[in-house]
């Protein structure tokens, strides 16, 4: 065959048969050696092992072969069956030549091919052919070991297709997927990431990712593409294992368009509100001007500046003036609502003792309620109850609510209730008045909605009061509720958070920093605190500690006379904000305060019991936001 010079010299079954005939004279040798192989043969179930002589006569055939091919040993042993070795088409296309050549050349040849069972079905197989040699190294036959690959092929196919699917999911994903190792170096990117970052995978991989990756939560990042274009993206990070190491998988979604649309929408809304506000502002100006001359003209006639008037004339003139004032109130209320809604109103929040405020309200309405024969009672805690709110606005809320209650109640009582509930301050105004019909409740806070208008004397409503009340309460991040029953009465309730010095302090620090950034100035915070609070708490009564803290607060208050210094206290610490103050200046102030307080403490003979500590933190020296500054003084505020 070799001397025919062609690798495909076996081109027919006859030729391959001839090939087998070459080893015929070795058959006896193989027969002699079947004994030693038989144990191996039979134990290797799962492998088909067939030994043949050069003639192709099968001389050994194991149980594995029986199971794989389906031929019983009796059917096949001693017979020539080239087809058990090679499928017909295999022989026809001449692959056999190649195999034979390889086998003879190397004495052993392994390949992956197809085999045919007794029933004609085919299966993929791994095949190992080995030449067998006689004592004089003469080839006597061959052994074929076959492994059925059907199962492993199927498993591989499944694996391959699931891998392909996975790759498809990753490659076609519109979200960018980036794997970053523990050192922040990119180890994998998908095509979406290449598009988003405007860089090829090979430019990204191996480089620092450049954004902080922490698992959990969503962060917004700004990507600056080559050429300077900025994209806004939302990033979510999970921890994963990547090539046997801990890493992060970041999925990044481009939200630039969404952001732009949101921004445009907000701007349009603001513009609309601004236009509305300007419009209402102009209208009120235009309305007030003629109102001024009408009012002044009528006032002068009523006052007699233009000559004598009759009593009847004066009565009517008074009525006109009353209504002019009402018209002016409506205009003012409209303007107020418009300002609140356009976000123009900035609350002047302060620590506000709601108990005291409500007691004042009761006093201011007492004569009016007495005149109407109503009982007006306040159920208000004796102690200070502080909220963080705009005082003028809160007075407006109570004035409107109590005013309404008075207007719509003819007999019975009006109660103003203030109580502490679940860390909140709950305020309610209830009456035994005419109530509001169920169908009118949804319209209650609408503008110019007036229910159960009353005839008779007294100030008329503007139809805007409740709308303003609702707006004010909402500006304080709360909501107002109403319960009402026709002819039984109405109750308005709202809750505001009870003041916590810490939150309040934080808010002040946040605002202070905002202001400092805006004005490009610095800001410092200073904390004086009882260092050995646990010990002090055991030795001294709470009341006494509170009194001492009050005194300290006073001392600090009097030494910080500069406008803009804000100071708060909790049970163990007094916190002071020093705007436009550098850290080093704050330290000087701190030393001065420590000295003043030290003197006070020794005068009071408290210096042995109470240890006062002092901490300062400065923006921007110690941190760029409130939390970082707070970290500096955490030990002090506890």
């Amino acid at each position: 065959m070799k001397n025919q010079g062609s690798k495909t010299s076996f081109s027919s079954p006859e030729n391959s048969k001839a090939q087998f005939l070459l080893i015929q004279d070795r058959i006896n040798y193989l027969r002699d050696n079947t004994d030693f192989a038989s144990v191996l043969f039979e134990s290797l179930i799962g492998y088909a092992i067939i030994a043949a002589d050069f003639d192709g006569n099968i001389i050994a055939y194991n149980e594995g072969a029986h199971q794989i091919y389906g031929y019983a040993p009796g059917e096949i042993i001693g017979k020539q069956s080239i087809e058990i070795f090679f499928p017909k088409d295999f022989i026809e296309v001449g692959k056999l030549d190649h195999i034979t050549e390889e086998l003879i050349g190397k004495e052993r040849f392994s390949y992956e091919g197809e085999k045919v069972r007794k029933d004609g079905s085919r299966f993929p197989a791994q095949i190992l052919l080995t030449l067998t040699k006689g004592k004089n190294s003469k080839v006597v036959g061959f052994i074929e070991i076959v492994q059925d690959l059907t199962e492993s092929k199927r498993a591989e196919e499944v694996l391959q297709s699931s891998e392909a699917n996975l790759r498809k999911v990753i490659e076609k994903n519109v979200d960018s997927l980036i794997i970053v190792d523990r050192n922040g170096v990119v180890c994998f990117t998908n095509p979406a990431a290449e598009a988003l970052f405007g860089r090829k995978a090979e430019e990204l991989i191996g480089e620092l990712f450049g954004f902080p990756v922490t698992a959990g939560g969503t962060t917004e990042i700004e990507i600056i593409r080559r050429g300077g274009e900025t994209r806004v993206a939302e990033m979510q990070v999970v921890e994963i294992h990547w090539e046997k190491k801990d890493a992060y998988l970041a999925s990044v979604r481009d939200i630039t368009e969404r952001k732009q649309a949101e921004k445009a929408k907000v701007e349009a809304q603001q513009q609309e509100l601004q236009m509305k506000d300007d419009f209402i502002s102009n209208i009120s100006h235009e309305l007030r001007t003629p109102l001024t001359s009408i009012k002044e003209g009528l006032s002068q006639i009523l006052e007699g500046l233009l000559g004598e008037t009759t009593e009847g004339q004066r009565e009517f003139l008074s009525m006109c003036l009353e209504d002019i004032d009402r018209l002016a109130r409506i205009i003012n209320s409209l303007l107020n609502i418009s300002r609140i809604e356009s976000g123009k109103v900035e609350l002047k929040k302060e620590l506000l003792d709601i108990s005291a405020l409500c007691r004042n309200i009761i006093v201011s309405f007492s004569s009016q309620s007495k005149n109407k024969g109503l009982e007006f009672k306040g159920i208000i805690p004796k102690d200070k109850l502080e909220i963080y709110a705009d005082k003028d606005k809160m007075v407006e809320v109570f004035t409107n609510l109590v005013g309404n209650a008075l207007k719509f109640t003819d007999k019975g009582h009006i109660h103003l209730l203030v109580e502490e509930k679940e860390g909140m301050v709950e305020c309610s105004v209830s009456d035994t008045g005419c109530g509001i019909a169920k169908e009118d409740l949804p319209k209650l806070y609408g503008r110019f909605q007036q229910f159960g208008r009353v005839y008779g004397p007294g100030e008329k409503g503007t139809g805007l009061g409740l709308s303003i009340v609702k707006n004010i309460i909402e500006l304080h991040h709360s909501e107002i509720r109403v319960e009402s029953e026709l002819n039984k009465g109405t109750k308005f309730t709202f809750r505001l958070p009870k003041y916590t010095p810490r939150e309040l302090f934080r808010e002040y620090v946040v605002n202070g920093i905002k202001e400092a950034v805006h004005r490009k100035e610095s800001l410092s915070i200073l904390v004086l605190y009882i260092e050995n609070f646990a010990v002090v708490k055991e030795k001294i009564e709470d009341n006494r500690i509170a009194a001492i803290m009050n005194k300290l607060h006073e001392v600090i208050g009097s030494s910080l006379r500069r406008k803009g210094d804000i100071s708060f206290k909790n049970t163990r610490a007094i916190l002071t904000i020093l705007p436009v103050t550098k850290r080093e200046q704050a330290d000087i102030i701190a030393r001065r305060l420590e000295q003043t307080i030290g003197n006070y403490m020794s005068e009071e003979k408290l210096d042995r019991v109470i240890k006062i500590g002092c901490k300062t933190a400065g923006f921007p020296e110690d941190g760029s936001n409130a939390d970082e500054l707070f970290d500096k003084i955490r030990v002090a505020i506890g």
Binding site: H285, K295, G297, L335
Partner: protein, 122 residues
């Protein structure tokens, strides 16, 4: 001698009524109907007090106020800003330009008279 008050307002009805009220209260009144005229009359007539509207033709009330208040010769002259604008920012601007009082329209006659009296006495 009667104190002299300058009323600067482009609303003629208001000017006429105010003039009547203040004359009856014993003041001498001069009037102007735009900012320019108001400024000139203030300088020439040297009134004891000025009631000054904000939205005026030719020169607005803030500017008139600022020009008088930042002039050594006239800065002692009390000025009441008298306007239908009631925004906080308007009042703040009024303070910044040195006005002595801010009265919004429509006004309470007694409040206006009280402020005038108070400012003239100081």
């Amino acid at each position: 001698m009667a104190k002299k008050i300058l009323i600067v307002d482009d609303e003629l009805h208001i000017v006429k009524m105010l003039e009547n009220r203040l004359k009856q209260a014993g003041y001498e009144i001069i009037t102007a109907s735009d900012g320019q005229d108001g400024l000139e009359k203030a300088r020439k007539e040297k009134p004891d007090l000025i009631i000054l509207d904000l939205m005026l033709p030719k020169m607005d009330g803030y500017k008139v106020c600022r020009m008088l208040k930042f002039d050594e010769e006239y800065k002692h002259m009390p000025i009441i800003l008298f306007t239908a604008r009631s925004r906080e920012s308007d009042k703040k601007t009024g303070e910044e330009v040195g006005a002595d009082a801010y009265i919004t329209k429509p006004f309470e006659p007694q409040t206006l008279l009280a402020r005038i009296k108070e400012l003239l006495e100081n």
